[in-house]
């Protein structure tokens, strides 16, 4: 062939292709410089000598389906050209990333299996942007996540930092909601807001109404004290949250216990307009508000509380939350059954009964 012919033919011959096979069996050829932009393919070609012909096509990882492959190759085709400015690349990326979230996830997965880090970073950032600032319901809807946590688990005491009076109130409501749940499931568990005043007289009254015998009345006075203390203990044990931590801090002698209580006192009275807020954020976890109420208990109880708290905290650190729940439930079984009544302001109140069931 003459030189001229060679010059004409040469560019065509120079362009080499890499053969790729996806999991569904389809094989395609891709320009070499585009395909080699992916480290996975590069490795296969250089280290194993694959991809040079149809019969030696490179088998791509399972997570790369043909649709994703074509997207990845589009990305590679653009970015492998060296002459592009940063601005061009950025603008391409922004347009490229516009796709529905399902495809975005699949693309992330595909890019990761092909070890194409720049694309993984790009898609990860896009996914983070989608998640940021949304409520859990919205996120679940976008990503089709199963809502498979129990109410208990959702109301775990991981407090949101937006903490204004309305939200504190909402937390109280959630605490009550949880109480009701427990009550429904296991009647023997005791967790209630404690009425500091007039407990005894009401107890007496109700036990009378409920038909308790004369003996129980006599026993009641001493038992009430024990109950109160045990109630506190149980409430303490059930707490994963502020009380635990403040107590822990206190046992280190660093943080005054009263601090919590002062703040809670400020917000105690607000109880109106609660129903409107029930549609509010699901993601605010109840900080076990009733324990905040307990916090401003009488001082003698404090010391004992701290001691128990330190023990419990150590135990808790070693246990997983579901196990803790179990522990809670089983602890409750030792207690006596209690009847509940509703107070004038809508809070639950425990009416003690001496009856053993």
């Amino acid at each position: 062939m003459s030189e001229v012919d060679m010059a004409v033919i040469k560019p065509e011959m120079m362009k080499s292709y890499v053969w790729l096979q996806t999991t569904d069996g389809s094989i395609q050829q891709v320009e070499q410089e585009v395909a080699m932009f992916c480290p996975f393919i590069c490795h296969e070609v250089l280290q194993k000598g694959m991809g040079s012909s149809k019969s030696y096509a490179i088998c791509l990882p399972q997570r790369v389906n043909p649709a994703m492959l074509s997207l990845v190759l589009d990305y590679c085709r653009f970015h492998q050209v060296p002459g592009r400015s940063n601005k061009e690349r950025k603008s391409f990326d922004e347009k490229f990333i516009r796709m529905d979230t399902k495809r975005l996830c699949e693309l992330t997965s595909a890019a990761d299996s092909l070890q194409l880090k720049p694309l993984v970073d790009l898609t990860s950032r896009a996914l983070a942007r989608i998640i940021e600032g949304k409520t859990p319901e919205e996120i679940r809807e976008i990503f089709h996540l199963p809502d498979d946590l129990t109410e208990e688990e959702k109301l775990e005491p991981l407090k949101n930092t937006t903490d204004d009076p309305r939200i504190r109130l909402l937390n109280r409501l959630y605490a009550k909601k949880r109480k009701e749940l427990r009550e429904r499931e296991k009647l023997k568990i005791v967790e209630a807001e404690e009425e500091r005043v007039d407990d005894r007289s009401v107890d007496e009254l109700l036990s009378f109404i409920n038909g308790g015998n004369g003996d129980s009345k006599v026993l009641k006075t001493s038992k009430n004290k024990k109950k109160r203390r045990r109630r506190k203990d149980q409430q303490k044990n059930a707490s994963h949250s502020e009380v635990a931590e403040t107590d822990e801090r206190e046992s280190n002698g660093l943080h005054p216990m009263c601090h919590d209580t002062e703040l809670d006192d400020e917000f105690r009275p607000s109880s109106s307009g609660a129903s409107k807020l029930q549609d509010g954020e699901d993601d605010i976890f109840a900080p076990k508000v009733e324990f905040d109420d307990v916090d401003d208990e009488i001082d003698p109880a404090l010391k004992e509380k701290i001691d128990r708290e330190v023990e419990d905290f150590a135990r808790r650190l070693n246990s997983v939350w579901p196990e803790r729940m179990q522990e809670l439930l089983s602890f409750g079984q030792e207690r006596r059954p209690v009847h509940f009544a509703v107070n004038g302001n809508g809070t639950l109140r425990r009416c003690g009964s001496a009856e053993q069931k």
Partner: protein, 421 residues
């Protein structure tokens, strides 16, 4: 099966990607993912980097309550966290409750924290607890508005690569020994110091940023230094001190940095460098110096000009110069000693690699014009020169332009941009 396929695809992404995504989220959002579904319950707990900044705060500006809930949030996150914590950053603009930070530092010091950034608010400065010095795996330490008091027995952070102290109250000897006791230190930033006499001994230091009223800076042992940026204020006290000293600051500062690639000097830096007696000292060559940026250079001050000339003529590979002037427009009226001025410019100097020159805050003073003339005539590969006038001398624009046109250009490609404001 179809439903499953159309369903959740994000939860099954590899752990490393989930971690990346969670790290990109503000920590509040990341922690909230624990109630999304059972797979997401504990994912946030292994995040290695925890950043608590103003994004964690609510929109309701209720000072005390907000702070209280913030403290609780941070404490809770720390308690519920599992696995190693590599980075802990606290950046809030308000702070009054210091005992909590003490606890957090205590907690972190028990682990292997690598990066610690504490940026605290105005008001009484926080005294960093001594536990900090037990964090011997630290690679980055950044403190803003704190009080630091290293214990006398402190041997240094053996892995520390980056140290940044901004508005930190620390004894001068403590700083010097802190710097020299960190063998791997590569980046050092000291900002907002008053009247500090600094002696830097750091064998691996590559990047140095200094800002403040330094009395004296001596780079005693910094052989690997690549980038230096100094914003130095000289008060009247300092000036007196300098007048009494005879040592040459130029040598003290630039005598031991053979690998320097980038030098930035602001405010009174050139003035500082001009102090002392340079005569009879063997010239130093900055073989790697590529970019020189000097701001607020007083062109009428012969000594400062000598410093500038010394720098640029001893940098054979210089590519870019950026100079801003601070000449007093009133000085123009004085009859300059131009004959003497012309002599200080070396006659046969060539800047073989100089491509970009940016002059800003020019006043059109004869000294400045002579300098520009010198550069134009000595730069055969110059591509761009931009000149921006200071705001106060607009009326001199035309005469400056006329003068500029007369200057010979050694480079055929040189384009001069006269900036209009």
């Amino acid at each position: 099966m179809e439903d499953l396929k159309a369903g959740d695809c994000i939860s099954d992404l590899p752990e490393s990607i989930i971690e990346t995504i969670l790290t990109l989220l503000p920590i509040r959002d990341a922690v909230r993912t624990c109630i999304l579904s059972s797979k997401w319950r504990y994912r946030w707990t292994t995040l290695p980097d925890l950043v608590f900044d103003d994004r964690c705060l609510s929109m309701y500006n209720d000072g005390k309550l907000e702070q209280h809930s913030f403290i609780k949030f941070v404490t809770r996150v720390l308690l519920l966290h599992q696995g190693p914590i590599n980075k802990f950053q606290l950046a809030t603009s308000f702070w009054q409750c210091y005992p909590d930070i003490d606890q957090w530092v205590l907690f972190l010091s028990r682990g292997d924290i690598k990066e610690l950034i504490l940026e605290l608010g105005e008001g009484k400065w926080y005294k960093v607890p001594a536990r900090l010095f037990n964090c011997n795996k630290l690679t980055q330490l950044e403190l803003i508005r704190c009080e630091l008091d290293p214990p006398p027995a402190f041997k240094g952070f053996s892995w520390l690569k980056g140290l940044s102290l901004h508005q930190v109250s620390i004894a001068p000897e403590a700083i010097e020994s802190l710097i020299s006791s960190c063998p791997l230190l590569e980046r050092l930033l000291l900002s907002y110091f008053d009247s500090l006499s600094l002696n830097v001994r750091a064998a691996n230091l590559k990047f140095l940023y200094l800002e403040g009223e330094f009395r004296d800076i001596c780079l005693e042992h910094t052989p690997l230094l690549v980038t230096v940026s100094v914003a130095m204020y000289m008060t009247d006290d300092n000036t007196e001190y300098f007048e009494q000293s005879s040592s040459c600051s130029f040598i003290k500062f630039l005598g031991g940095v053979p690998h320097l690639e980038r030098l930035t000097g602001q405010i009174d830096f050139t003035k500082y460098l001009s102090i002392g007696d340079y005569q009879g000292i063997r010239p130093i060559t900055f073989s790697y110096l590529k970019v020189i940026e000097l701001y607020e250079v007083s062109f009428e001050d012969t000594k400062e000009m000598l410093v500038v000339l010394r720098l640029i003529t001893n940098s054979p590979h210089l590519k870019e110069i950026q100079i801003s002037g601070s000449s007093n427009a009133a000085a123009i009226t004085e009859a300059p000693n131009l004959d003497f001025w012309a002599t200080i410019f070396p006659k046969d100097c060539t800047f073989r690699h100089l491509k970009v020159v940016k002059m800003t805050d020019m006043s059109g003073v004869p000294h400045e014009m002579e300098f520009i003339k010198f550069l134009l005539a000595s730069s055969p590969v110059l591509e761009m020169m931009s000149i921006a006038l200071s705001l106060y001398v607009r009326d001199r624009r035309l005469s400056m332009l006329i003068e500029l046109l007369q200057f010979r250009r050694a480079s055929a490609q040189a384009a001069i941009f006269f900036m209009q404001d």
